[in-house]
Amino acid sequence: MIRRPPAWLLPATVLMALVLMLLPLPPALAPARPAWMALVVAYWVIETPERVGLGAAFVIGLIADLCVGGLLGEQALRMVVLAFILQRFRARLRFFPLWQQSAAIGAILLNDRVVASAVHVALGLGGPPPVAWLSPVIGMAAWPVLFLALDALRLRLRRA
């Protein structure tokens, strides 16, 4: 049996992440928004590495940039770095228990935040507000939920 999720599931999750990125939050909390797109890309890199590699991560990052209206290429850069790290540790990550997996994802998201801040500081745009460092923590907490939900969805779609 071929383990292959339906082709529309990836774009659908990307779209969902885009909407989640744009949803209005109170201005004080907006920088702490979890990096939904990073979580979704992480899921697909771990689960279907033959479909989502560096190239796909780059393209998804560009789309996110256009949507959010940040610097063009910033998210692309972050997604590529994230995908690369995940590819390296994929074999181990896949068989970690869920809490350990989330911890690893938290570390990767923290790195993502550092890359973003580095880009901003290098261009003289100023560092992020302190609240922004909450974002990886929230992302880490959201990972098990997202992972289980997407896995369940994929399984159900495969059976149907």
Binding site: P27, E50, F58, L66, C67, L72, G73, V80, L123, L125
Partner: protein, 340 residues
């Protein structure tokens, strides 16, 4: 547990190839970032590409609208009656104020005629709803649910009831983007309404403060002074409220004062903003008149370009020609002159 189905562990050469690919993508991304930061041709391309993302933003804006509608529907009779009474009172006060302003405007017009200084004193604005979506939090921007199809153009001045909000930097077909005064890359030429001293107010990247980095120590500027746009530079018309100075302190060199300004506009997401359509309704600040006499009225839009505007979409906006939107906020004079 499903069997391991990924590719075989990569060989050494595979790793090298993958690293090279990573480097290639990183270089491309960095080049994009730097080019975009510098502005130029890439920004044009991006504007086009962002137009493709409008539907996504539209979808993301839906929850906000639904909440708004729910809040409207869920308002109890008591609340609505209270609100109605309050609005009625405000209307009354504003109308009284406006009536007084009209005589002042008429006087002004007569005096101007005596001076032979022809000036268009009509405030032509259009109402544009705000699309409630969060963009990149490191930049201070706003998305409007009205685009070039509704007559929005790049460079238009954006106002709210309090005062100046910012300017349109990008007009798609359905949506447009507004750069707020408070964005770190934004600067607006202002005058102190009381003394006519001219300054430049810079955004600070926070939504509750502007910065006046170089106020000469000898200049007549005090805490509590109101700032209005000076009209210099030609981008903003003169006389719109920008904010009030909340603090002044000497900078490190002791040669200048550094001021902090509380913006007059409410950036906490009202539901609508006003887009200034015509170029130059240029009411002057009372004290600034003497200092600014030599300044030509900024002409951002050619008068002949007006009729070429597409007709406004019915639901999205309400045109109020020669009307006085609630801009009057002392001590800045209302930017609305009466009809000629």
């Amino acid at each position: 547990m499903p069997p391991y189905a990924g590719p075989l562990p990569p060989a050494r050469t595979g790793e090298v190839v993958e690293t090279l690919r990573l480097l290639a993508y990183l270089v491309v991304a960095l080049v994009l970032v730097v080019l975009d930061h510098r502005g130029g041709w890439l920004r044009q391309v991006r504007t086009q590409a962002e137009a493709l993302m409008q539907p996504v933003r539209l979808v993301a804006g839906l929850p906000g609208r639904m909440v708004e509608r729910l809040a409207d529907d869920a308002g109890t009779l008591g609340q609505l009656t209270d609100e109605n009474a309050r609005l009625r009172r405000e209307l009354l006060v504003n109308q009284a104020r406006m009536a007084r302003m009209q005589t002042v405007a008429a006087d002004n017009l007569r005096l101007r005629a005596l001076l032979d200084a022809a000036q268009r004193d009509r405030l032509d604005v259009q109402l544009a709803p705000i699309l409630d979506v969060d963009l990149d939090p490191t930049r201070q921007r706003l998305v409007l649910a009205a685009g070039s199809g509704d007559g929005v153009r790049v460079g238009q001045t954006v106002l709210d009831a309090g005062g100046l909000v910012g300017q349109v930097i990008d007009a798609g077909t359905l949506q447009s983007t507004v750069l707020l005064l408070t964005d770190a890359s934004h600067a607006v030429p202002v005058t102190v309404a009381r003394s006519g001293v001219r300054l430049v107010a810079y955004g600070d990247g926070r939504n509750d403060a502007l910065r006046l980095p170089t106020v000469p120590t000898s200049s007549d500027v005090r805490v509590g002074d109101a700032l209005v746009t000076s009209g210099l530079g030609g981008r903003f018309a003169a006389g719109f409220a920008v904010g009030t100075i909340t603090a002044l302190a000497p900078d490190d060199s002791r040669a200048f004062l550094v001021g902090s300004v509380r913006p007059a506009a409410q950036f906490d997401r009202g539901r609508e903003v006003l887009l200034l359509r015509s170029g130059a309704p240029a009411p002057r600040a009372p004290g600034a008149a003497a200092a600014n006499v030599g300044t030509p009225p900024p002409a951002t839009v050619d008068a002949s370009a007006q009729p070429a505007l597409p007709p406004p979409a019915a639901a999205a906006q309400a045109e109020t020609p020669s009307a006085t939107p609630p801009l009057a906020r002392p001590p800045a004079p209302p930017p609305a002159g009466g009809p000629r």
